[in-house]
Symmetry: C2
Subunit: 374 residues, 2 copies
DNA sequence: TTGTAGGCGTTATCAC
DNA sequence: GTGATAACGCCTACAA
């Protein structure tokens, strides 16, 4: 009736009980403390008045906001929206709402949104931005905040995390290229302050070794960020005259897209002249020409799993810390094809040079054998 | 010192004043009510104790949450993240934080997140999901909530809105195709419950008329949603044997991408056999093959402008309702090229048939002449 | 089983 | 100018 939303007092009055009783009747945890009959009356009154508990008041009293802070590098990267959707959907089921913060890879900005979220009393954090030694992590650990790392890992902390088995993914990418006849393979490594950067590099190295291929430093360039521009720059560097590379493994799809740009600049055709494999299988990447071969993982699921882990921690702070890895899957599309005999024979440096073989390739390429966690 | 964060009482105690005074000293709006001297003491104490006001408590008292609810169709659509970033950045400057809700074009879902957000006492809404006659709008109007429509308009409501001049954009697309020699042009129209769907169709029609081209119903198909699948379906329908179309204007980029699929299915080459123009210039669309010609508008700016309008409404409920249109811009890439003489002469139905000309094309194509707002 | 009272941290409205 | 008081809406010992 009134234009002012109904409060607990209104409900109590309508049900002719004390507000405290109404509160008990309405809260699942305390409903059993109240008689069948009054519970019914209260529920009915609440229904009739269209009562919605005021989360702000509740939050002030209980010190829980039912809000989760999510820090991601940049929502503009199409990789993240599906992950965030997974988070949101899962958390919503438990009455939580998500506050998203973009850090743009900037530490100061990250600090700002983190503090902002703490001030708003978020009940926990999902961090997809954590660098290897991050001041935030120390702070969160000290304050004993529920935290889950997503698509990131960090040593020395008691945080649950969900990420991809990057080693296995990159290993599979290398094995695929090797099976296609490529031997001169370069790697655009991600930033080494980020866990994905180092583990994918490790996967690449292990994969090369297992395939009996040389992977010296000259065939690895380090991107300073996961951006298209960096991919292009690194592509140019890798493809400098005389390199003789026939394939590139990029630490993520953005870098691979940048490579496409470098190929164009250099007049190279992909996949005929040069092959490339990405990582992430981000949305729309399959619509590029050529469609990018890449390592896929279940984006949405990464979000839901992170949510599950966080909820566990929130509901029981003593629940065990879990480190979860999702299995990746190589998806073969058009950006890597068998090495053409022409390339092997004719093109400068394009040959499967015996010098590149450090050992007879007798090692069977077992998936997962490249796994090296610490 | 203490592990419990400092409260206003702590600050007041440290500054040897009453909490009320401390509150006054700390709030910009009331600082002038206290003496220079005490203000200084309080500020200093707050600083020293690392005092951060508790937004929850403040919100309970002031009934303002400094939170804005944003409803968008789907964050997975790369069009939206930059818009949301614009919103966030602008609102953050004024101390507001954004709650994002995906509706997936589902009315029930929309209702749910809307209610959820109202329960959380958001201070205002940005609606990017509004359909032409939306129950939410009536409710919001009645409750006198600050609302801004984004990329949408609705008649009969006193809501500010920011959108694109869709008529002009689509007009320019048609004019461009006509100048390339195309005369048999089809349109994949967006859903007609959505303002963009109707205004872009209108722009298309006006553009065709101005170019002296026929645009009968057989050359218009209606998508039920802005999705790739719908684009593909509509593409097939438009390109049915005998249609003779040489170009398609799609109501948005997603539909255009769907067309690419249809072309592949039909063995048509784009742009040689068939041209297509999209709308939105969404991220990554320039990396497709061929790169899509499309109508661009400033995404980020759409967000910041919506934020500005909303802030105006929040700060002064009597501020005038503003309807803002952003100017679009045709960006010419590779998906539309001059009609090949071969196509004109040889291909079945590919000709610039005189029957298609409803009037001599003497009308100069003035940009913006197609503008028809109501 | 239900009522009482107090307080979460802040600010609006009085008095002084 | 500043202090006192109450209230925002809810929850939870504790008492009855």
């Amino acid at each position: 009736m009134s234009d002012r939303p109904a409060t607990l007092r209104d409900v109590a009055a309508a049900a002719r009980v004390h507000p405290a009783t109404a509160s008990r009747a309405l809260n699942p945890g305390t409903r059993l403390l109240v008689s069948e009959e009054t519970a019914r009356r209260v529920t009915e009154a609440a229904e009739r008045l269209g009562y919605r508990p005021n989360p702000v008041a509740r939050s002030l009293r209980t010190r829980r906001s039912h809000t989760i802070g999510v820090l991601i590098p940049d929502l503009n990267n199409p990789l993240f929206p599906p992950i965030v959707r997974g988070l949101e959907d899962r958390l919503a089921k438990h009455g939580y709402v998500v506050l998203i913060g973009n850090t743009d890879g900037d530490l100061a900005r990250e600090r700002m949104v983190f503090d902002q979220m703490r001030a708003r009393h978020v009940d926990g954090f999902v961090l997809a931005t954590a660098t290897l030694h991050n001041p935030l992590l120390a702070e969160a650990a000290e304050a004993d905040l529920p935290v889950v790392l997503m698509n990131r890992t960090a040593q020395g902390y008691q945080f649950s995390s969900v990420s991809v088995d990057n080693e296995q993914g990159e290993w599979a990418a290398v094995a695929h290229l090797a099976s296609l006849g490529h031997s001169r393979i370069g790697h655009i490594a991600g930033p080494q302050e980020i866990s994905t950067g180092v583990s994918r590099l490790r996967g690449f190295l292990d994969g090369m070794r297992a395939a009996g291929l040389a992977a010296d430093e000259s065939r690895i360039v380090y991107a300073t960020g996961y951006s298209i521009e960096e991919g292009r720059r690194c592509g140019h560097e890798l493809l400098a005259p005389g390199s003789g590379l026939t394939a590139i493994v990029a630490a993520n799809d953005m870098l691979a897209v940048g490579c496409y740009g470098a190929f164009d600049d250099l007049g190279l055709r992909c996949p005929e002249d040069i092959a490339v494999i990405g990582f992430n299988d981000m949305p729309f990447i399959d619509r590029l020409r050529p469609p990018l071969s890449t390592v896929r993982f279940p984006h949405y699921k990464l979000g839901t799993e992170a949510a599950k882990l966080l909820l566990e921690r929130i509901e029981d702070p003593d629940s065990p810390v879990k480190i979860l890895y999702l299995a990746p899957e190589l998806v073969v599309r058009g950006s890597a094809v068998p090495l053409a005999p022409a390339a092997v024979a004719g093109l400068p440096g394009g040959a499967a040079d015996p010098d590149d073989m450090i050992a007879p390739n007798t090692v069977p390429l077992r998936r997962g054998a490249g796994r090296r966690k610490r």
